[in-house]
């Protein structure tokens, strides 16, 4: 095949360059916004700490950072973290496994959708703190309570999002495939399966975030180790610095998992980095 590249108009090349420039500037704008947001947050913290609440009630950021560093470098941090992390992983895995099965069931069966819809509304209505206390009563001070509570609370949410992902396959992509003469099996492997994988990754992400929060809350009531237990201990000894340090570490861990585990997984599955963000940029 002889290619005649002379048909490419210069105007199109100029357009490409302009669009790329706009896209790059938009990305830099977003990064600048993130940095300014963090600086503003730390600034407000300093103001509240120094001028509104006082450093006893709200220690300033650098004190909390120093305390967090001490916690990280001190004895027992690894064991505490691992105790919580293990519960989160088990709780998350239980929730995700149940959600994939139940999500598929409610995606393709109206009867099950009706039945599980009632149960979902029931479980979602139960206050998480009540479940945490119930776990303490049922399982005592042990690791089992936080795990099961996390799985129980996360499952209805994750199940709904997996079901939505499965039923919400973009019909337009299927029409596109049909118009180009793709076969049924090509459409299944090229469109339907990748769409479902995305729903499962999204569900895993949601399950993990929920499991972290619920595990910690349950550890406050029903555990003798873990990050939640440390937060309770800090509260009981009125150690605000310690409480904030553990909270900051918890937020840091969430951030690490979100950005370095789930976003990477999503990138691999979805391709483009920060899909929703980039889409928003492209439509500006």
């Amino acid at each position: 095949m002889a290619y005649d590249t002379s048909v490419t108009p210069d105007a199109v090349a100029d357009l490409s360059a302009r669009e790329m420039r706009r896209s790059v500037m938009s990305r830099w704008g977003l990064r600048a916004g993130v940095v300014i947001g963090w600086l503003a947050f730390i600034g407000v913290w300093y103001v509240f700490s120094g001028a509104v609440l006082g450093t006893q009630q709200l220690p300033p950021p650098h004190t909390v950072a120093a305390e967090a560093w001490q916690v990280v470098t001190g004895d027992g941090f690894g064991a505490t973290l691992w105790a919580s992390l293990l519960r989160v992983i088990v709780g998350c895995t239980l929730a995700l496994s149940a959600s994939i099965v139940l999500g598929m069931v409610i995606a393709y069966s109206a009867w099950w959708r009706g039945l599980l819809g009632v149960l979902t509304r029931f479980f979602v209505s139960i206050p998480t703190v009540a479940l945490a206390i119930l776990a303490l009563i049922l399982f005592g001070v042990s690791g089992l309570g936080p795990m099961l509570t996390a799985a129980l609370v996360a499952t209805p949410y994750v199940m709904s999002s997996v079901a939505q992902g499965l039923t919400g396959v973009d019909r337009r992509l299927i029409v596109m495939s049909e118009s180009f003469g793709r076969t049924r099996s090509q459409i299944i492997t090229g469109v339907l399966l990748p769409s479902s994988v995305l729903a499962v990754i999204g569900g895993a992400r949601q399950a993990f975030a929920l499991a972290w929060r619920i595990t910690l809350l349950t550890e406050v009531f029903a555990s003798s180790d873990g990050v939640g237990f440390q937060i309770r201990r800090s509260f009981e000894s009125y150690d605000v610095r310690g409480l904030l340090a553990w909270t900051a570490l918890f937020i840091g861990l969430m951030f690490i998992f979100e950005n370095f585990v789930f976003r990477q997984l999503e990138r691999r599955a979805f391709g483009g980095a920060h899909v929703s963000q980039a889409t928003a940029e492209s439509t500006q």
């Binding site: 108009p9 669009e19 118009s179 090229g190 980095a273 940029e281």
Partner: protein
């Protein structure tokens, strides 16, 4: 030589829970397109333009009537450019191109790269759709339609979501690439200027999906929107469009 033969095509959508009345999208359209011509289907919203294109593409079934899209007596290969790009978000630009190819080989990859270069996107073949602007995504959609070496090219208002500058550049590009490939093209639009600039023939549909007029456009290519001859034809088409609106308003059943 590709031929599109449409006979008394009718499409009625049944009532739905959200719209409890049946809708007649096409009311007996008959037309034929033969050879390397660029036909614009022009009409206001609700005139069944997209429905007509979808039926020709084979992704919708007509209620009545028949459509034949053939190339030398066998079913023709169709390339479709949609209103929005419809790219698979989990595949790179190049992989999106290759998805519509029947064979996966070095040659098909080279062809994909060639068509990407024709739309000025050689440098972004490795990127994902979400990393491109809307205009760039649409150019991938156009390149993808040409990649399958279609006998018939169907385009459904491909520039309607573009800003004016981007739309104009893409129209220029489409004129050139079409002049290069000379595919039989059916181009749906509601923009009179766009239709006159691109088409050899303008088929005007009125609401309810009935052909109102069939206007030949015998102008030299490439055409520019500010050419006097283009503007003269545009004025004539607009005049006929006005008479169609008047006919609709006063209940004229002219076909």
């Amino acid at each position: 030589m590709a031929t599109i033969l449409i006979e008394n095509l009718t499409k009625v959508y049944p009532p739905t829970p959200t719209y409890p009345q049946q809708v007649q999208a096409l009311g007996g359209v008959s037309m034929s397109v033969t050879g390397n011509v660029f036909v614009a289907v022009l009409g206001p919203s609700g005139s069944g333009k997209t429905t007509l294109l979808n039926i020709v593409a084979g992704v919708e079934e007509p209620t009545a009537g028949a459509v034949r899209v053939v190339q030398d007596g066998v079913p023709a290969q169709v390339g479709y450019v949609f209103q929005e790009p419809r790219l698979l978000p989990w595949r790179s630009v190049l992989d999106n191109m290759l998805y519509v190819q029947n064979r996966k080989s070095d040659r098909s990859k080279r062809e994909a790269e060639f068509y990407l270069s024709m739309v000025g996107l050689s440098d972004v073949a490795h990127l994902y759709p979400a990393q491109l602007s809307a205009g760039m995504q649409q150019r991938v959609g156009i390149a993808r339609a040409f990649l399958v070496n279609p006998d018939v090219l169907l385009m459904d208002e491909p520039f309607s979501h573009m800003d004016a500058l981007t739309g104009r550049s893409l129209r220029d590009y489409l004129q050139r690439i079409w002049a290069h490939t000379r595919k039989t093209a059916l181009f749906v639009t509601h923009d009179v200027g766009e239709a006159v600039e691109l088409a050899d023939r303008i088929l005007m549909l009125r609401p309810g999906g009935v052909v109102f007029d069939d206007i030949p456009v015998n102008l030299q290519r490439p055409r520019r929107p500010d050419d006097a001859a283009v503007r003269a034809v545009e004025t004539e088409v607009l005049r006929r469009f006005d008479s169609m609106e008047a006919a609709v308003r006063f209940g004229d059943q002219r076909n």
